[in-house]
């Protein structure tokens, strides 16, 4: 697989098309937070985790917990790109009998690693997985992708305190900071700022990047591999609906699937990026 910056950029945009097609076929789902997330997942899963069909069960595999479970179409698209599931299976999203549940379910589809969708729970699971690595003297990292809205949940802050206390430095959190949640802009609902200051005060190693800059994501994830006694937090500033101009809005396309004409317009626009 070509993992150059330009190839990953192109792959991410191709997967934006997958996401639109999946959500259009399903008739429901969350485009905004899937499109904001796809660049992060592309670099994390394809390059840094190196997921493929052969290592998906390996005890020492790197793991990724998608705590913002509603963004799972992006994860399914990346797993298809990684060869873990057939590409044509993507269109089974949200249908009866499919492994591709509306939110991740590890017992149905182990490759998603954890069951999420009730917000705020994934970081605790990731912490436990990362601590298990230490207990077993295995070398894997655990990546956890949070949404900004779910950072309002108390359980996230429990885990932020706990993981720093336990010095879980093989734990790498990436915040898909797309600034929107269902009822409005995040900073108008419950503001997280000043976020980096809070996280540093919680004894985390903090980086702040543009979450759509493939090279910046790559660089930050490389930096986060350092094991120096602190867990890692990458604040990735993103745009909800990124890549489809009419979906780039903090709330409008949170949980609404595109209709026929909208899907066609979105894919046409994405094809101009791929041309």
């Amino acid at each position: 697989m070509d993992l150059s910056t330009s190839a990953m950029q192109r792959a991410a945009n191709e997967m934006r098309v997958d996401i639109i097609q999946m959500l259009h076929a399903a008739g429901s789902g969350h485009p905004g937070g899937s499109l904001s997330l796809i660049d992060i997942l592309t670099v994390a899963v394809l390059k840094h985790i190196g997921r493929n069909a052969d290592n998906v069960d390996a005890p020492d595999r790197h793991r990724l917990v998608l705590s913002k479970g509603h963004g799972v179409p992006a994860l399914y698209a990346v797993l298809a790109r990684a060869g873990v599931i057939p590409h044509e299976e993507l269109l089974s999203l949200r249908t009866l009998g499919s492994r591709l549940q509306g939110h991740p379910h590890n017992a149905t589809f182990p490759a998603v690693e954890a069951s999420t969708g009730s917000l705020g729970q994934g970081l605790s699971i990731a912490q436990g997985m990362a601590m298990a690595a230490k207990l077993d003297a295995l070398d894997y990292n655990v990546y956890c992708v949070l949404g900004d809205g779910e950072m309002q949940e108390g359980q996230v802050w429990e885990a932020l305190l706990s993981a720093a206390m336990y010095k879980v430095d093989n734990l790498i959190v990436i915040l898909d900071y797309n600034k929107g949640q269902i009822d409005g802009p995040t900073n108008e609902i419950i503001n997280l700022e000043p976020l980096a200051d809070k996280l540093r005060a919680f004894n985390w190693e903090v980086q702040e990047i543009d979450g759509h800059d493939i090279a910046a994501i790559d660089e930050a994830l490389t930096e986060a591999r350092k094991r120096e006694g602190k867990p890692h937090f990458i604040i990735a500033h993103t745009v909800k609906g990124k890549g489809v101009s009419f979906m780039e809005h903090p709330t409008e396309w949170h949980g609404k699937a595109p209709g026929d004409a909208e899907a066609r317009a979105a894919i046409d626009e994405l094809h101009t990026l791929l041309a």
Binding site: P59, V65, H105, N106, A107, E113, A114, S115, T116, G117, S118, Q121, G122, L123, S124, I125, A126, Q127, G128, M129, A130, M131, A132, A133, L135, D136, V142, G154, Q155, E158, A159, L161, S162, M165, Y166
Partner: protein
């Protein structure tokens, strides 16, 4: 007299640490009360003090379970089961091999009062389709249940007492997961009971025997999955059913038996247990007040038998 089942648990778990390297134990700042401290003292590298963060403890344990560990997570039952939505998602739905150990259940904890008393925990946990629920009645049964759970794979809930409980089994006892345990045979009615009130129920049966009432007493240590066959058979054979538990009569053992019999063997029935919030008092005083001591249980059964 007797021993608290939390102590039996703590001692047995610490012993199992030697033979079960996959066991990891979590506590939320109550290890001295839950008795997980006994494991912590012997296997500090496999013990995790998670602080007063029950949500995070449940999730982190689920993460470890998904990496092949066998976590036991310990707290007062109401504090851990109260974080039900995390149990529902991160343990139940995830099919994570986590045993949730809830101690200090029921009004029998005494003076601390209602805030520390789990009276609704069984009801919540029963709604999760794959949650095994075990409530031992004495030391031998508690130890056997812990040994069973160390090798069990799947979500489980172990409900334990703060107070000492008298032995109702002898050394010949064998624990069979999912099977009703007949402690006393009788023909006039069957009393299904569980946990800390089992011994008192046997005493009540002795009292009523003096009055010519012949009670069958069945210990339900496994509330889920319930031994439906044994429950239906006992109800059919005796024609009258009583349940006794230190828990709300809604959704607990009484609820489970009532649901089962309503579908399979409609039977005249009385549920003895909690119908109000708890309050402070001595454990024995509270059992007397709420009719959960031997005299209270006998009184409840007597009233029922007079009209049933």
């Amino acid at each position: 007299m007797g021993k608290a089942t939390r102590v039996s648990f703590g001692e047995q778990l610490a012993e199992l640490g030697a033979t079960h390297p996959s066991i990891v134990v979590f506590d939320a700042d109550l290890s001295k009360s839950t008795q997980s401290q006994l494991f912590a003292a012997r296997y500090p590298e496999r013990f995790f003090e998670m602080g007063i963060q029950e949500h995070n403890m449940i999730g982190a344990a689920a993460g470890m379970a998904l990496c092949g560990k066998t976590p036991f997570i310990c707290s007062f039952s109401t504090f851990v089961v109260g974080r039900f939505e995390v149990i529902r998602m991160s343990v139940g739905y995830s099919e994570a091999n986590v045993t949730i150990v809830g101690t200090h259940c029921g009004v029998a904890i005494g003076e601390d009062g209602y805030s520390q008393m789990a009276l609704e925990d069984i009801a919540l946990m029963r709604t999760l389709p794959n949650m095994a629920i075990i409530q031992p009645a004495d030391d031998r049964e508690a130890r056997a249940a812990v040994r069973f759970l160390a090798d069990y794979h799947g979500p489980a809930f172990l409900r334990l007492t703060r107070q000492n409980v008298a032995d109702v089994h002898d050394d010949s006892y064998e624990f069979h997961f999912g099977k009703a345990d007949v402690l006393r045979d009788g023909a006039d009615a069957v009393v299904f009971c569980t946990g800390g009130v089992v011994h008192g129920t046997l005493l009540a049966a002795d009292m009523l025997a003096q009055e010519g009432v012949d009670l069958r007493v069945v210990n339900i240590h496994t509330i889920a999955p319930l031994d439906v066959e044994a429950v239906v058979k006992a109800a059919r054979e005796t024609g009258r059913v009583i349940t006794v538990e230190d828990h709300s009569i809604v959704g607990g053992l009484g609820g489970a038996i009532a649901e089962t019999l309503a579908e399979h063997q409609p039977t005249r029935m009385k549920r003895i247990g909690m119908t109000t919030y708890g309050r402070s008092g001595s454990p024995t005083g509270l059992y007397e007040h709420f009719g959960l001591d031997a005299h209270g249980i006998a009184r409840g059964i007597r009233e029922f038998m007079a009209h049933a």
